[in-house]
Each structure stands twice: as C-alpha cells, then as structure tokens.
Amino acid sequence: MSWIDWTVLMSTLFIIVAYGSWKTRKQTSIDGYLKGNSENWVTIGLSIMATQASAITFLSTPGQAYESGMGFIQFYFGLPIAMILISVFFLPIYYKLNVFTAYQYLEERFDVRVRSFTSFLFLVSRGLAAGITIYAPSIILSTLLGWNLQLTCLVIGGLVIVYTVSGGSKAVSLTQKWQMGVIMAGMFLAFYFVLQSFPSSISFSEGVDIAGSLGKMEIINLSPDITNRYTLLSGLTGGVFLFLSYFGTDQSQVQRYLGGKTLKESRLGLMFNGLVKIPMQFFILFIGVMVFVSFQFNQPPIVFNPQKVEMTSLEEQNLKKIESSYDAVFDEKKMLLLNRSNDSDRIQELQFAQDSIRANYKSELHSIDPDFEAKDSDYIFLTFILNFLPHGLIGLLLAVIFSAAMSSTAGELNALAATTTIDYYKKFWAKEDNDERDLKISKLLTIGWGILAIVIALTAGLFENLIQLVNILGSLFYGTILGVFLLAFFFKSVNAKAALIAGIIGQLTVLGIHFLKLYGFFDLSYLMYNLIGSGVVILVGIIASIDLKNER
C-alpha cells in the first residue's frame, strides 16, 4: 500500500466518523438517542441495507461467484416478500404501540416473560455476532496486508464506539448513508477496473460468454433438494422465513426503520430495500464472475490465502510440480480462449483440471500444516484489488471494507444497547422516566457492548468452532423468535403461557436438530431451521393453548 492509499483510507474513515459524531452531538433525549424518529425513506432504506451488508458481504460474495457462479442470488428471493409482509403486518403495530424495541410488543400481547425470553435470545445471538462482524474482515486484511490483527480489530471497534456512543441511532443511520455511498462508489469503480483488466481483444460480451461457457452464469437451480441452500425453492421458502425474522424481529433492523419520521417513510424505506437488494447482490456477484474471467487471462495464484507454511524441501518440490502442471493448464486454456476456439469441451476440461489441481494443492498444504485455511474464496476479491487497481483506489476499496464492517457493527451495538436499556434496565430497575439518567445508561451500555464485541473479536481466533457457530447463530434463534411473533400477530387464541412453552420447545427442537446434523445423522440447509423453528413454535403454541383452556 502506498501513501496515497493510506491517505484515502484514513481521510474517508475520519470524515465519516467526524461528520456523524458532529452532526448528532446534541442528543438530549432517550427517544432521539435510541430511535432517531426523524429519518426519511432514503436514509432508512440505505441504513437497512448497510446494517445487513457486513464487510464479509463485500469480501466473500465476489469470491463465492468466482468459485460457484451466480446461484447465491437465489438466497435473496425471499427478501421482497418479507418486506411486504413486514410492511403490512409488523410495522403498523410497532408504530401504533410506539415501541422502542420489537420485544415490547410481546409484553403487550402476551406477558413480560415472553418479552424477556425473546429479547434474551436476541442479545445472545447478536452479542456474539457483533464480535465476529469485526473479526472476520480483520483476519483477511491482516493476512493479506500484513497488518496487526489485534490492532485492526481495535481500530474498527474503537471507531464504531466513538460515533455510536456520541450520536446514538441518528448517528448510526447518518453515517450508514455515507458509508453506503462509499461502498457503492467503490464497487462501481472496482467493476470498471475488472473490465479494464481483460485483454484488449476481449470485449465485455465475450467475457460474459466465457463465464457462461464455464458454468458461472447458471443462476437458477430448480432442484427440490432441501439440503441445498441455493435453490429457487430454498430462497422462496426458507429465505422468506429468514428475512421475515431478521427484518421483522431482529432489533438491529427494527431500530433502523422505527427511526422513520412517519409510518409512510418507514414503509417506503422497506420498499426501497425490497427493490434494490437483489439487483445490488446480483451486481456484487457479477463482479466476482468478471474477476473469474479476468483470471482466465491474467494468471491467478494457485492459492489466494497467502498464509506461510513451513515445509521440508521434499514437500516443496512436490508442490512445485503441482504448480507447473497448474501453469501448463492455465497457458493452454488461455491460448484457446484468446484464439476464440470453438472447442468448448476442451476448455471446460481444462477448467475442471485447473480447479482439481488447485484443490489438490490446497489439501497438500493443509496436510503439511493443519492450521492452513484451505477455504480461500474470501481472499480472491481482495487479491484482485491489490494487484489490479491503481493506487488511491486500493485505499478507497479498503475504506469500503472498513465502512461495511463499521456500519453493520454500529447497527448491532445500537440495537444491543437499546434492548438492554428498554427491555431490562427500564423494565426491571428504573421504571420511572429520567431522560438524563437513561441517556447516560444507554451510552454506558453501548460502550459495554462495544468493548465486549472487541474482546470477542480479539479472542475469536482461539475458538474455531465458535466462529462456525456464530455464522449460523442467526438461523439457530431466528425461527423461534419469528414463531413467537407470528403467534402474537395471527393466533389470537394463544395465551402467554402457551407462547412461552412453545418458544422453549421450539428453541430446544432447533438446537436438537442442529446437533443431530453436526453428528451426521442427516443433512439439512440452515435456511430450513427458520422454517422448522417457526413451525414448531406455532404448532406447540396452538396445541398448548387448547390444552391449557381444557385444563381450566
């Protein structure tokens, strides 16, 4: 990285953090601090998108398209349907009750136990996830750029704490708007430079044809296989439930749209997200596919993860042999593509051979050093940026990654503090209103959750399984939370006791299924956990309420 990159990176981050903190420095009420209450639909829409899109979205998604093509887009097909359902059923009730957190509604509908149960599930899952939101990009940045991992985690976490504590929900939304601006500008520029990296004789449409001939443009999978996450069926069933629970009941999202000036602005913000999200993900995936085309002509490294592995000279010789066969396959395929050969079978064979050699090389490295991370798709896009983008733009793209990490962490910390303040502190300890004291407590809780997130990020490397668990943590808890909310909205006969029993049984069922899956009893897509969790909660809720009525 040159000094120009450092200047662009530092100034972008500093301007956004300083602007957000300065513009929202005069927060005197708990209402303004935890809710915002004055945002228009553009800010809400961008803020919803920025909270959802973490740094890993921009690092992993292009890498995923590079490896497996565009099929990942199907994961998002449930999102617009979820936006409509939230706009029709969830949002008017949240507005009518003028709640700070989604869980307050559950006390109105059921009782305080159900409210505390669901908000507790949220705090556990989101509290752990906030740390990983910081850790995941930090480990990639530190490996590729040689940065200190701990320092990177501290910088991301520290900057977020500064403006989230200072300006609360309004600062989070305001900075997220600018962060999304930086992110999209950076991604468009990256796309331009990916196309520029093609040989001059290869046009854009020829690039798309090459990607298509190598299977990267197969988007829709009509398979009924429920173990596969990326099918039309999974997207339109499990995906609807996942996004309904994430956007409808996860406080980090609910808080974003409850910050609207009016119900209309909040609804329009949701519609904006429903309209823009799939095209945006398509674009990010398409960048990955174009990087794949670029690497048909510019030789890619055999592994993208630059982690150093200690080895004997014999092992080194063996790896060198694999590298030479990789080079030979690459050269032959490049020549065929440059000469516009019609022998597509041979080109596909060579691509298959190249992928197999790469997989073999990675497994050799893993057997030499079990600590070597063989899954290197997260490193692909950043490797391209560092090698093919001009100085200055590298800094901007790193600012994109930092902005994405900061925007989603800020949304999480803000929501964690709001839930702890409203659902626990003000509910059980300080019931009478005192704006000054409540504001102070909210700020202290934001700092507390921020420090916890940093501590988790700093120690995450020690617990490999914890990271895997956190990746699926959302799906482990969302089904239950959504099930309780669906009981509240649509099953008027279900009472508080039945809802609580149903919530506990639903959660135990999902955890049981997860452990059976871990021990290899069967295979199931994580997306289906949401559907199963919600289904069990609703079923048990209905049965328990009938049973309790009969008892009476």
């Binding site: 565009m70 409509i84 029709v88 507005y95 299977g215 443009m217 209309k264 799939i278 596909q348």
Partner: protein, 39 residues
C-alpha cells in the same frame, strides 16, 4: 402517536404488487440467462 398524525395517501397495494411483479420479472430474467448459458 406518530402514525395517527400523518396523512398517508400512498397506494400501498400498488407498491406491493409492483414489488412482487419486479421480483418475478427478475427470476424470469435469471431463468432466461440460465437457459442461455446452460453447460
């Protein structure tokens, strides 16, 4: 309450149908791309 003070004249049904049609139009486009580039 905020919701009661506002005058909301937006045709939300049109928004919802529009969003659904846009979703299925995208799926149709992606199916066409998939069939065009079937390996």
């Amino acid at each position: 309450m905020r919701s009661e003070n506002e005058k909301d004249k937006v045709n939300w049904k049109a928004w919802y149908w529009g969003l659904l049609i846009f979703l299925f139009a995208q799926i149709a486009l992606y199916m066409w791309i998939t069939n065009t580039y079937k390996v």
